[in-house]
């Protein structure tokens, strides 16, 4: 019997098609764009407007290929970035089709006729898709010998984005990014034909084509830096980075953003020991290819002129801080702290911006060196209810068992409570918007007014008086049965932000809502280090890995891992931040270790200052002078993220490790400083390096969230249980204060970034038209501590509510008013100032 030669039969799976690209048979998922199929086969079709995360435009025509359908060649070459695969299609790219090759060369030549070709002075030179593709797919010489189109330049699109219209290839990536991804419409295509150009309302007048910045809306976006990164030429440049370096002089290291709890992947580019720029890194699970402008541009705080680079010790005689050697300073600190510990005790405020490794070191230092549970990372409004919430619903969650970015995008419904996604976790905002735009995710916000994020998540606002969020949540079943029903849908998510700690009963209400509806609940803190600090036990009630300090077995476990004597760990819950400050004022505590906490961030800055003044001994671990420095007995300088390795846990509980970018600067991470300080106090922390600290913590971590060896049961027992309260009722001349922080404000990591600061949102007070009546356009908001005067913008707030930005120029709510979200304040006509 002879065997007929068998045709190798390729199975075409469901939802796929079979086509031929450059003579090669390929199976592709339905809907795949030809340009991607070719790429999978290793053929890069040149392109400009195409971007995998933007809707196809087909504008540049650089990606033309020849296509045959049903045996018939299509009469014109087709844009491979807009055409999807089909069964039996035959595609010929530039590799096999002279027509496609000529078409691509032709488009390239046309793109270059008006291009200035000033590569030697262009920021993009060396990493420019136009430069690279012109080399690969262009003619060596241009036939163009007439006049190039010129424009005055640069044109400021915003304070941080500068446009060179001559270099622009009009691919619309920037405008599509703004319209589709960020939803900020202020950058647009203007004019037509060869005069077509990118611009803003301010630059719209083309007859005088010089840049004008007198009127109109600026391109104000928290995400504008992404347009610079995705611009395929050097048309959009960063005011911060412009002309400062060449790509080939830069060294790149992968990094993780240190600002919010999203934990975006970044790339840090540095040269000769100095960070020159940060770019969005690619992480499809987290930030995709985007970062917010804060994450991109706010890094020069680390090189501020007032950065503390040597330890300081207070001279007992003069009362002045004086530079000291590490040995002197550590000895002074150890002595002072040991004395305090052995007196009435010493406590730790570790701040919300530490890496996991540093936060762990603080947590361990408190227990082992200071023998106390008086430790709290929460340099913000906080509550005991929040502690229960963190211990019962947050610790131990991670991407495998908790809410993720992916889950947000695919959720049928996301309910945001006391959480401003765009201001507090911009990458979360982008995902919410993406889900809403592409998949119709319903986004509901329980807040006070229709913020830009509500609009741009196509969301719905359930407005309530500040402080009434808990009753609003409790009332969902009765007053919003549709929402209640949607919360029961598979995949529904509830997000809660840091502000919830200011609303008694809210965590309890959310916990019950989640229990009742089955919706998944996630906590999204504002600062990058908070989620990790919960996990490592930088809290008065929790030991590392979510172990309750009151749990004897858990204590024993920790004691064993830490090599402590049995019973060495204190069994009583410690004091929280406010407890610590109050005890210091009352003389019930003697010493304090402060890691990067600004007193003005604390719920009561006046109390904080009083406490610092009253404290017998204060050790401050800081990068730059702060409100703590004035009261510190010893100041120990520590390294910014660029100068150390480490990791953050982002809000998902995802481990975000990063290597050191700038090596050998001599700056020490907190963990190292605390380790040495421990040694001076006869306590071994084993946290000499971030890696050592991570290894030490791993032995205690909840499995999954970290590189843990054994699983620890999360104590889901002490769920929060606080009754919700009625919101305050304002009297005549009063209002209830709503307040939260803007992404770009006076935060201490935002200093020395004037270009970034220029894109901050306007600092205004918001209230309803009825509340604003008689105030004459300007309001003065006051408490017995002080007052803030701002212009009024009328918004859809409930009557009797005034909103102020939390920490913006001219509106420092905590510092000036000593008030917070839900406080009753006085309002009066402000008078223009």
């Amino acid at each position: 019997m002879t065997m007929a030669p068998e045709e190798p039969k390729v199975e075409v799976p469901e939802g796929h098609v079979k086509l031929t690209v450059d003579g090669e048979e390929v199976i592709a998922p339905k809907g795949e764009l030809l340009i991607r199929t070719a790429e999978r086969l290793g053929t890069v079709v040149p392109r400009f407007c195409d971007h995998p995360l933007l809707d196809p435009a087909g504008a540049c025509r650089q990606c033309l290929v020849e296509v045959e359908m049903g045996g018939r060649p299509m009469p014109k070459p087709q844009a491979s970035c807009t055409m999807t695969v089909a069964d039996g299609m035959v595609v010929k790219t530039q590799r096999t089709s002279p027509v496609a090759d000529k078409a691509q060369q032709g488009v390239m030549e046309l793109l270059l006729i008006n291009h200035p070709l000033d590569c030697p002075i262009c920021d993009k030179g060396g990493e420019c898709p136009l430069q690279n593709q012109a080399m690969a797919h262009g003619r060596p010489e241009s036939r163009f010998r007439d006049k190039k189109r010129t424009f005055p330049k640069p044109l400021p699109i915003s304070t941080q984005v500068l446009l060179d219209r001559e270099r622009c290839v009009l691919c619309q990536r920037c405008t599509r990014f703004s319209a589709q991804i960020a939803g900020d419409p202020f950058i647009e295509l203007l004019e037509r034909g060869a005069h077509q150009q990118i611009g803003t309302a301010e630059t719209a007048d083309v007859l005088d084509m010089a840049s004008r910045t007198s009127s109109g809306k600026p391109f104000q976006s928290y995400f504008s830096g992404n347009t610079i990164q995705i611009c395929p030429v050097g048309a959009l440049t960063s005011a911060q980075y412009r002309f400062r370096s060449r790509p080939f002089d830069l060294v790149s290291s992968p990094s993780v953003c240190e600002h919010c709890s999203s934990g975006c992947a970044e790339r840090t580019d540095f040269r000769r020991g100095k960070v020159m720029r940060k770019l969005a890194g690619e992480d499809p699970e987290v930030n995709e290819e985007w970062v917010c402008d804060k994450g991109r541009f706010a890094f020069r705080y680390a090189t501020a002129s007032d950065r503390i680079r040597t330890p300081l010790v207070r001279n007992a005689e003069t009362g002045e801080l004086e530079e000291a050697s590490w040995t002197q300073a550590l000895r002074a600190a150890a002595e002072g702290l040991a004395k305090a510990r052995d007196g009435k005790g010493a406590a730790v405020l570790s701040g919300g911006r530490s890496t996991v490794e540093d936060a762990y070191s603080y947590a361990k230092f408190a227990r082992v060196a200071l023998r106390t549970n008086d430790i709290d990372f929460r340099a913000r409004a906080h509550s005991a209810e929040e502690l229960d919430f963190l211990g019962s619903r947050v610790v131990g969650t991670g991407p495998e068992n908790g809410v993720t970015f992916h889950a947000l995008e695919h959720a049928p419904l996301v309910l945001c409570v006391a959480f401003e996604p765009e201001e507090e976790a911009p990458a979360v905002f982008l995902r919410l918007r993406k889900g809403a735009r592409n998949r119709g995710t319903q986004v509901v916000h329980i807040g006070q007014w229709t913020t830009p994020a509500v609009d741009r998540t196509f969301g719905e606002l359930l407005a309530c008086v500040p402080g009434a969020e808990a009753s609003a949540v409790e009332g969902i079943a009765q007053h919003a049965p549709d929402l209640d029903e949607s919360l029961r849908a598979e995949g529904a998510v509830v997000l809660v932000g840091e502000r919830a700690a200011e609303v008694p009963g809210l965590f309890t209400a959310l916990h019950r809502l989640a229990e009742r509806t089955g919706a998944r609940l996630a906590w999204i803190p504002r600062r990058a280090g908070e989620r990790g600090a919960v996990e490592v036990g930088a809290l008065p009630t929790l030991l590392p890995g979510g172990r309750a300090v009151t749990d004897a077995a858990a204590r024993t476990e920790v004691e064993q891992v830490w090599g402590l004597a049995e019973g060495a760990l204190p069994a009583e819950p410690g004091r929280d931040t406010t407890g610590i400050l109050t005890a210091l004022v009352a003389g019930e505590l003697d010493g304090l270790v402060v890691g990067g906490v600004d007193p003005n961030d604390l719920p009561d800055p006046a109390l904080a200052r009083e406490a610092l003044a009253a404290a017998g001994f204060v050790v401050s671990l800081e990068m730059r002078p702060s409100g703590v420095t004035d009261h510190a007995d010893v100041v120990l300088p520590i390294a910014p993220v660029d100068e150390k390795a480490g990791s953050f846990l982002n809000w998902e509980g995802r481990h975000r490790e990063f290597p050191v970018s700038l090596e050998g600067t001599g700056a020490l991470p907190d963990c190292r400083v605390l380790d040495t300080l421990g040694v001076e106090m006869d306590a071994d922390l084993f946290t000499q390096t971030p890696a050592a600290a991570a290894g030490d913590f791993a032995r205690l971590a909840v499995k999954g969230t970290f590189t843990a060896s054994d699983a620890v049961k999360v104590p889901f027992t002490a769920a929060p249980d606080v009754p919700h309260q009625q919101a305050a009722t304002p009297g005549a001349g009063q209002a209830v204060l709503a307040t939260w922080r803007q992404l770009i404000d006076d935060g201490s990591l935002l200093i020395d970034e004037p270009h970034l600061a220029g894109t901050a949102r306007a600092v205004v007070a918001r209230m309803s038209a009825a509340t604003a009546e008689g105030l004459g356009g300007h309001v003065t908001v006051s408490t017995d501590r002080g007052s803030i005067s701002l212009p009024i913008v009328v918004a859809d707030l409930p009557d009797g509510v005034v909103w102020l930005p939390g920490n913006s120029p001219g509106s420092k709510v905590r510092a000036t008013l000593g008030a917070g979200h839900g406080s009753v304040v006085s309002i009066a006509a402000g008078g223009a100032r």
Binding site: R61, L64, P77, A103, G106, I113, D146, L170, R192, G193
Partner: protein, 427 residues
């Protein structure tokens, strides 16, 4: 204005006194087709228009009935009918006179077409500069509304239609149907990516049909006369009457209605022949986007097939006539400047290409061209044609490629090298 070889159809009322009035229209069979149409079903109407073979009069000649049948049979989303009255193609001037002289024929066509496509809102997008026709249309809409031909429960049929006359802002590209839809939505007019096609997601992402004024104005006659009657005029694949806009060096420029397939020779007879007897040099069969013809093409039947077989296109039947006094490179330069000015800027080939072509031609006409420029012109045209996002780019190269094809000598004569020879010869 019209003479043989047909009895006028579309233009038959144009010379009546106050032809634009509803009363005149009604006296001359006006709105009788609507009554008839409303008695039938939408499907019957679509079939009738299919049978008639009516092809789009906006330039591309797509069969109107087939286009209508793409509209979804359900009404899950609102359906829109949009009338393209942007009339931007150089030389084209048929829709504006039609709307001036006989606006009700368009309105009646709109109601019938909307009924056939289950649309309850129709927009007429009129070129912004055409203020007078916009006023006249608005007045006619008011008259029709008052008489019950528009609005709720039209003629007691239960069918509702709102008609909105919308003024564009004067951009040629807004005649391209998807750019028109963007413009109508209040955006910057640039063509959209297709698919989705308008019948799936057009105006406000709802099913939409875009038709030219003359296409829709033909519909009432088809309803009254029937498909067979319509097919008696014109040719097999291009039936029906057509308004030819004749401009340029003829004795009596103007609108001439004639069946499709009429030749230029016949049209010249209608309009009194070449002006002052100066011989014909070149002409466009359907606007500047259609490749030029010469005196050799006097007997080409002007229908969709005839024009295409002879190497051009029927386009909008804007017949622009140029006599021997006109320089081809100069005319081509003028047209190219138009396309450069009107390119929307979206895609590279058209935006950059027209910018380049215009400069080369300007330089040549200025006497600074080279022979190499001619090759460059042709190659740049090749890089634009079929590579652009929309048909504007294709149209932009028509005058150049056809101009050089038939009149290369004139371009050569403009080149510097040849001029120098000439100067030498004189010396």
């Amino acid at each position: 204005m019209t003479a043989d070889p047909i009895t006028p159809v579309l233009t038959k009322r144009w010379l009546s006194p106050q032809s634009w009035r509803l009363s005149t229209y009604e006296d001359l069979e006006g709105y009788s087709a609507l009554r008839k149409a409303l008695k039938g079903s939408p499907e019957q109407l679509v079939q009738l228009v299919k049978d008639s073979g009516l092809r789009g009069r906006g330039g591309a000649g797509f069969p109107a009935g087939v286009k209508w049948s793409f509209m979804p049979p359900n009404e899950d989303k609102p359906h829109y009918l949009v009338i393209n009255a942007d009339e931007g193609e150089p030389g084209t001037c048929k829709d504006i006179p039609l709307m001036m002289a006989d606006p009700h024929s368009l309105i009646e066509g709109c109601v019938i077409a909307a009924y056939a496509m289950r649309s309850h809102h129709c927009f007429i997008y009129v070129r912004g500069e055409a203020l007078h026709p916009i006023r006249r249309l608005n007045a006619a809409v008011r008259e029709a509304q008052a008489a019950g031909y528009l609005g709720a429960d039209i003629l007691g049929s239960g069918f509702d239609l709102e008609l909105t006359v919308h003024a564009g802002a004067g951009a040629y590209i807004c005649g391209e149907e998807t750019a028109l839809l963007d413009s109508l939505e209040g955006r910057r007019g640039q063509p959209r990516l297709k698919p989705p096609f308008p019948a799936a997601a057009g105006l406000y992402a709802a099913p939409t049909t875009v038709n030219n004024v003359e296409t829709i104005a033909s519909v009432p006659y088809i309803v009254n006369g029937g498909a067979d009657w319509f097919r008696q005029m014109g040719r097999e694949k291009s039936p029906g009457p057509k308004i030819f806009s004749i401009s340029g060096h003829v004795e009596r420029p103007g609108q001439y209605e004639a069946p499709l397939g009429t030749t230029l020779r016949e049209l010249l007879e209608l309009c009194g022949g070449m002006k002052d007897g100066i011989p014909l040099k070149f002409w466009t069969p359907g606007g500047s986007s259609t490749p030029l013809f010469t005196a050799e093409h006097l007997d080409v039947p002007l229908d969709f097939e005839g024009a295409a077989e002879a190497g051009s296109m029927l386009g909008t039947t804007a017949v622009q006539i140029f006599n021997e006094t006109v320089s081809v490179p100069w005319a081509v330069m003028k047209w190219t400047q138009f396309y450069e000015h009107e390119s929307c800027g979206k895609c590279t080939p058209c935006r950059e290409g027209t910018y380049w072509l215009a400069q080369i031609l300007e330089r040549m006409v200025d006497g600074h061209g080279t022979e190499e420029d001619i090759d460059t012109l042709l190659d740049v045209c090749d890089n634009i044609f079929g590579r652009s996002f929309c048909a504007l780019g294709d149209g932009a190269v028509s005058p150049i490629t056809s101009g050089i094809k038939y009149f290369r000598d004139e371009f050569l004569a403009l080149c510097e090298s040849n001029k120098r020879e000439l100067v030498g010869a004189q010396a």
